[in-house]
Every structure is written in structure tokens, then in C-alpha cells.
């Protein structure tokens, strides 16, 4: 049997799923299109333009690309940015994660968890509430990044503008309002998400694949800085961003414009997972009230379906709360920090790597430039590129199980595949950062 999903809908980017069910094996190819060639386009451009150009890779997570790019340029120029600028950037990043998660929750996965309602789902009161909630996160990025789609406030050495007094008031109000709205819809959403998982999790694979996320010194989730932590079977691997080339290997494949990425330890290559689920499972205890409470619900669900891809959907909700609460703490800290937007920069030849947690997981930007500050090399590894091989693995395992259980109705299998893929919230424009599929 051959199942082709062309295109996979309610995900970002152009993706075709191709599943060949044979007598003994299941072959799965996720073909990513939409190649635009950003890594090549960046070459020859002035280094300070990279944080402008890179966000255009993806309009759903432009903040993450903007920040990873700015961090890579800082590293390349050898500058440490002032604390105040770092806080503004981190708030921008947290706002970006919250808005992307809420786009997923309010649009991309929403009809799946509101099932039974079909196209009527948008008239449900929950939809309007989610839109209002998402608007809070959008406003936070507007204020901290200059604009929510393709922000520009982060520049080499810091940020263009710190917050004005009015900005801080706006941000505080938005955070408060955001948490209030989230509290109001939380019960409804969790009920739906749990039912969604319960109804669809039975035949899904729950085996452990290594996972990776940033790890900081403090409690909670590290989104902006820190070292990369990889959790495999019984061992942990920690490496600094500038060591990524030692452990992360990319390989081109002929059926997709998204490369395959592996974690390489002592010559053994393994696919690995990134994103909200690994982030929560590798993080320390949540330091704030709402996210701590939500985290308990998440742990309970994860203990019933350990590492299950559908559990990503609840992990996102915990993270939304965490983002708002962390922003509130950073705003408080900002009051006691010297108001310095930028460190001085000068031209130099160099190489720099910037890693942040994008909404979908680890994002790596790596540039080299000549003495004139012109980019000579660019490499970008996005979280969806990392997750696509895991999705292929999960689909294969799930389809095998479904066939074993004599679920062989193509529509049913197709629906399950869509649920699984959407739960990862793939961002294919990121994965191919680069063109596009519209093949019929």
C-alpha cells in the first residue's frame, strides 16, 4: 500500500509524506521542498546584514533566527553584549516562542483538538480567546524586537533600543494579561489535549531517541544561552556552542531539500530530538508558580506516555506559561541594570557560532567573515532539520504497529500520520531555509 500526503497541511512550509507499506517493511520519506538557498545568499553580504536577512528564513520563528544570527555575529566580532541588551534580547526570544506556540495551538493543531466541530471550530469561543492570548505575545515581540514578524532590534554588540518607561509598562501589562488569559483557557485546553492524546496515542511509538536542548545554570528552561545538553540512554553529553561541529553531523539526501542531522559520539551516529518536550525533560525545576503547576500535569501525562510525540502539545502550553513568567522576572531585573544598549564593535576577520532555543528546538547559526566584514561562509542548522528524521522513524514505527493491529484503512493511517507530524510543529521553510515543493 502506498500512502502519499501531498501536501501535509496545517504545518509551516512545503512537505510531502510518502509512505510505502510493503510485506516486511515500511518505507517513509518526508520530502521537504521550498529551497531558497539562504546559506549561499548570505555569502558576500556585510556581516551586520545577517541579522536582517536570516529572519526571512522563517516568518513563524523569525525571532529565533534574528537572535541566533546576532549572537553568531557578536561571537565573530568578539564582543560581549551589555546585560540590559541581553535582557531585551531574551524577552524578545521568549515572546517569540510564546507567539509561535500559540500560532500552533490556535491554528495549526487547533482543529485536531477541537474535533467533532470541523470547519465550525473557528466559531468556538476558545478560538477567540486563543487569538486574544496570542496577541499578547505578539505585542511583546513588537515592543522588544521592533516588529513581530522579522524583528530588527538586535544588532552586533547589543540592541538598537532599550525599553522606554512606557515600553516596560506595556510589557508588564501584556504579561499579566497573558497569564490571566492562559489561566482562563488552561483547563479547557488541557482537557482537549489529553483527550486528543488518549484517543490517538495507543499505536504510537514511545521509544527513546536521544534528545538535546540548551542547559543554563539556573532553574527553569534555558532559551537564550548556555551549553548544549544531549541525553542518551544512560549518559549525558555536554558541549559548548563552538564545539558543535565535533558532535553534530549533517548529511545531504537526494529526496529532500532538508538535510539529515545526527549526533555523533565516538563515531556512532544517532538521530535525535529537539523542541519543547526535550527542553522540559532536560530542564531544572520550574521556578515560577503557573509553569510549576502546569509542569506537574505535563509530568503526569509524560509518565503515562513517556516521550510520546503527542505529548509535545502539552509541553508547549507549559512553555507558554514559563515564557510569560520569565519575562516578568527579567523586567524586574532590568530596573537594577545599567542602561547601556551596545558594546563597541570593530571590524575583524573571524568565525562565530550562535545557538538559541527556537520554538521548535536548537537553532545553530555559524558564520565566517573576512577582514572587511564580508561573510565568506554560512551554515545554519534548524530544529526541524533535526526532527524530520525522527518523525520519519516515528511514522515508520507507528504504521508498523497499526498494520500489526489490522488497522489498514488508508484514511485512518493518514490521519494518524498527520496528527504525529503536526505534534512536532515542523517548520519546513526553516528546514530547507533555502526553496519549496509544489509537485503534483
Amino acid at each position: 500500500m502506498l500512502i502519499e500526503i501531498k501536501p501535509v497541511t496545517r504545518i509551516e512550509g512545503h512537505l510531502h509524506a510518502y509512505i510505502e507499506i510493503g510485506r516486511d517493511d515500511v518505507r517513509v520519506q518526508l520530502r521537504a521542498g521550498g529551497f531558497r538557498g539562504f546559506e549561499r545568499i548570505l555569502i558576500g553580504r556585510p556581516i551586520e546584514e545577517a541579522p536582517h536577512i536570516a529572519p526571512r528564513i522563517c516568518g513563524v520563528c523569525p525571532v529565533a533566527h534574528h537572535l541566533a544570527s546576532a549572537k553568531a555575529v557578536d561571537a565573530l566580532l568578539g564582543v560581549d553584549i551589555p546585560r540590559a541588551a541581553r535582557i531585551v534580547r531574551e524577552i524578545m526570544g521568549l515572546g517569540g516562542v510564546a507567539q509561535s506556540h500559540l500560532l500552533h495551538l490556535g491554528f495549526l493543531i487547533y482543529p485536531d483538538i477541537e474535533y467533532g466541530r470541523g470547519s465550525d471550530a473557528y466559531s468556538a469561543p476558545l478560538f477567540k480567546k486563543l487569538v486574544t492570548l496570542r496577541r499578547r505575545a505578539v505585542r511583546i515581540v513588537d515592543v522588544s524586537g521592533g516588529r513581530h514578524v522579522h524583528p530588527f532590534n538586535a544588532v552586533p554588540g547589543g540592541v538598537l533600543k532599550l525599553f522606554s518607561r512606557e515600553d516596560i509598562e506595556v510589557l508588564k501589562t501584556e504579561v499579566e494579561y497573558g497569564l490571566k488569559l492562559l489561566g482562563e483557557v488552561y483547563g479547557d485546553i488541557v482537557e482537549r489535549v489529553e483527550k486528543f492524546i488518549e484517543d490517538n496515542a495507543d499505536a504510537m511509538p514511545c521509544r527513546g531517541v536521544p534528545m538535546a536542548a540548551l542547559a543554563g545554570n539556573g532553574k527553569g528552561i534555558e532559551m537564550y544561552d548556555g551549553v548544549v545538553k544531549v541525553v542518551m540512554d544512560n549518559t549525558n553529553l555536554l558541549f559548548r556552542p563552538n564545539e558543535y561541529m565535533k558532535y553534530v553531523v549533517e548529511e545531504s539526501i537526494d529526496y529532500s531539500y532538508s538535510k539529515r542531522v545526527y549526533i555523533d559520539v565516538d563515531g556512532v551516529r544517532k538521530i535525535f530530538r529537539v523542541g519543547p518536550l526535550p527542553r522540559l525533560l532536560t530542564s531544572q525545576e520550574m521556578p515560577y508558580d503557573a509553569s510549576r503547576k502546569f509542569y506537574r500535569d505535563f509530568e503526569l501525562l509524560n509518565s503515562r506516555w513517556p516521550l510520546h510525540p503527542l505529548v509535545y502539545n502539552l509541553a508547549r502550553i507549559v512553555e507558554i506559561a514559563y515564557c510569560f513568567e520569565r519575562i516578568a522576572e527579567l523586567l524586574n531585573e532590568l530596573q537594577n541594570v545599567q542602561a547601556l544598549p551596545r558594546t563597541k564593535v570593530e571590524l575583524k576577520e573571524g568565525e562565530g557560532i550562535g545557538i538559541v532555543e527556537a520554538p521548535r528546538g536548537l537553532l545553530i547559526h555559524h558564520y565566517k567573515c573576512n577582514g572587511n566584514g564580508v561573510i565568506t561562509y554560512a551554515n545554519i542548522i534548524t530544529p526541524t532539520t533535526v526532527n524530520i528524521p525522527v518523525m520519519e522513524y516515528d511514522i515508520r514505527e507507528m504504521v508498523k504497529l497499526l498494520i500489526d493491529r489490522h488497522v489498514d484503512d488508508a484514511e485512518n493511517i493518514k490521519r494518524r500520520i498527520l496528527y504525529l507530524v503536526r505534534s512536532y510543529d515542523p517548520c519546513v521553510s526553516c528546514a530547507t531555509h533555502t526553496i519549496h515543493i509544489a509537485k503534483r
Partner: protein, 301 residues
């Protein structure tokens, strides 16, 4: 009456769709059933485009299949909106027009070339603007289109009025513009200017490249009013055919005292990339247009 819209996304980043979906007005129109998204692989389930009232096209035309896709889609719509600068002018992916396509693919993938597998669409030689392929009713530029412009577009769609764009430059709506531009003695590269630029004063007056004079208004000078020089994402003014040429014209008005001229090129290091960051495929460089359009005829007709 429900207005059915379809969104066909070509080589895109989804920023335009996100900008639309972030407008409270738009979401309310959907929730209240005034507007229905009949097709968008990002936002709804339908795998095929049905007949729609308004077709939004986003993203750049990057492959031969993009051309076929928009041609087919255009037959199913009564109105076509080129939404975002990628569609209107080629956008940042259009900078790929400076590079041979074999090199774009080879530079990213090395020896394994997905484009040769026959499973994926191949790159066209050049990125071309939508209006060189189909007739466009409304051009809605911006990367992404700014909120006031989207607001005006929604207003026109819901109430059946004509949609119009401003006809002046960003400088006309820029709070930093005091209409007192004087010749500058020192052109300054954006990177180094960061060390002492005053982000609340006209950038051009400080010798820093700002695309304001050559860029269409509509965003209320969003970037300059928030501390950043304009990078030209709204594209050229209505009567212009080349944003870069307009900018060179504008620069000659402020940089004419600078000698030797090479100093300008030290500051504006990458003139093609900086002056036509979003509009290279829409420029007067004839080669792109001629070869690109010929390719359209050959591949898609």
C-alpha cells in the same frame, strides 16, 4: 455573504501568513464567518484549491513548478493579491539571482543534489515577480506587509472598495525627517555607525544608508521610528522601475561632497544587496527579466 480566500504559498517563509493571522481584525472576520480560508497549506486542511473570491499569493517564484502553480491558481480566483515583497518584487530570495542556480544548490548540499533526484522541483534560472506571470489586481508590498496596509486591504475586501497604496516615500511619514538634509562629509558603514549613531536622528543625515527616500510609504516608517535605518522592504515608489537607481539618485543629493568616491563604496559595501535587498528581480537589470520571462514561456506554456 462569505468571502472565500485562498492563500497559495510559493517559496516562502510564512511571515506574510503570520502577519495576516496576527491581525485581530482578520481573526474576527474568520470567527464571525465573514471570511473563510478555503485554502492555505499553513492554516487549513484542504489539499486542493477550489474557486475562491480572492487569491493571496505569497513567496517568491523560485521553481518552474511555482510558475505552473500560480498560473493554475489564477484561473480559480476572481481577484489576485500579490501579498508581500517576495511576490511583488522577488524579495530576499531574489538575491539568489546574483548566483548561478547550480551554485546555489551545490553551495548548500555539496555532491548529493536533491534537485537532481526527480522527486523535487528544480530551481528556475531566476526568481521573477508575480506580475510577469499572471495579471495581479493588488500589489501589497512589505516584508511582511505592515499592519496599516493589511488593515486597508481587509477594509477594501469586506466593503468592496478599491485598495490603494500611498504614492510617497517613507521619508514623508518618518518622524526622524526634519526636511533639513545637508551634504554629509563622512559616509558610514552601518556596522561601525552602531558605535555612536543617534538612533533618534535621521540616519542619512548621519551618513548612514537608510533606504527611506527610495522606498514606498505605508508602514509609518516603522524601522526608523524604532531605531533602525530603513532597508527598503516596501519596494519602490509607483512611478519607479528601479529602487536601487532611485536610492543612488537620493544618495547623490547627500553624498556629493565626498571624495574620493571609493569611500562611499566602503560604507555601502554591497550596493546590489543593500540597495535592492528586496527588489533585485524587479530591477532594470534586463538579463534577469528577459531570461526569467523566457523561461516562464518555455516551461509553463
Amino acid at each position: 455573504m462569505v468571502i472565500n480566500i485562498g492563500i497559495v504559498s510559493l517559496a516562502y517563509c510564512a511571515g506574510c501568513e503570520v502577519a495576516l493571522a496576527s491581525m485581530e481584525r482578520f481573526c474576527n472576520l474568520i470567527a464571525d464567518g465573514v471570511v473563510r480560508i478555503a485554502y492555505s497549506t499553513l492554516l487549513v486542511d484542504s489539499e486542493k484549491l477550489e474557486n475562491v473570491d480572492v487569491l493571496f499569493v505569497t513567496g517568491s517564484i523560485r521553481t518552474g513548478e511555482d510558475i505552473i502553480a500560480v498560473k493554475e491558481a489564477s484561473r480559480k480566483a476572481s481577484k489576485i493579491v500579490a501579498f508581500g515583497s517576495c511576490t511583488c518584487f522577488g524579495g530576499i530570495p531574489g538575491l539568489g539571482n546574483m548566483i548561478r542556480r547550480e551554485e546555489i544548490v551545490g553551495g548548500v548540499f555539496g555532491s548529493v543534489q536533491p534537485s537532481e533526484s526527480g522527486l523535487l522541483p528544480k530551481l528556475a534560472k531566476f526568481v521573477i515577480p508575480l506580475q510577469s506571470v499572471v495579471d495581479v489586481n493588488y500589489m501589497v508590498p512589505g516584508c511582511p506587509p505592515p499592519e496599516p496596509v493589511i488593515e486597508a486591504l481587509l477594509e477594501s475586501l469586506v466593503h468592496g472598495r478599491e485598495f490603494t497604496l500611498p504614492s510617497v516615500s517613507i521619508c514623508n511619514e518618518c518622524p526622524l525627517n526634519r526636511d533639513d538634509k545637508k551634504p554629509v562629509k563622512e559616509p558610514r558603514r552601518r556596522l561601525l555607525a552602531l558605535n555612536d549613531v543617534d538612533v533618534d536622528t535621521c540616519f542619512l543625515k548621519q551618513g548612514v544608508l537608510c533606504m527611506g527616500p527610495a522606498t514606498l510609504a505605508g508602514c509609518r516608517a516603522l524601522c526608523p521610528s524604532r531605531g533602525a535605518p530603513c532597508i527598503g522592504c516596501m519596494g519602490p515608489l509607483p512611478n519607479s522601475r528601479d529602487q536601487a537607481a532611485d536610492m543612488i539618485d537620493a544618495l547623490s543629493g547627500v553624498f556629493y561632497m565626498i571624495e574620493p568616491l571609493e569611500r562611499i563604496l566602503e560604507a555601502v559595501l554591497d550596493p546590489v544587496g543593500l540597495l535592492s535587498m528586496f527588489t533585485l528581480p524587479y530591477s532594470t537589470i534586463p538579463y534577469h527579466r528577459r531570461v526569467g520571462v523566457e523561461e516562464v514561456k518555455r516551461d509553463a506554456d
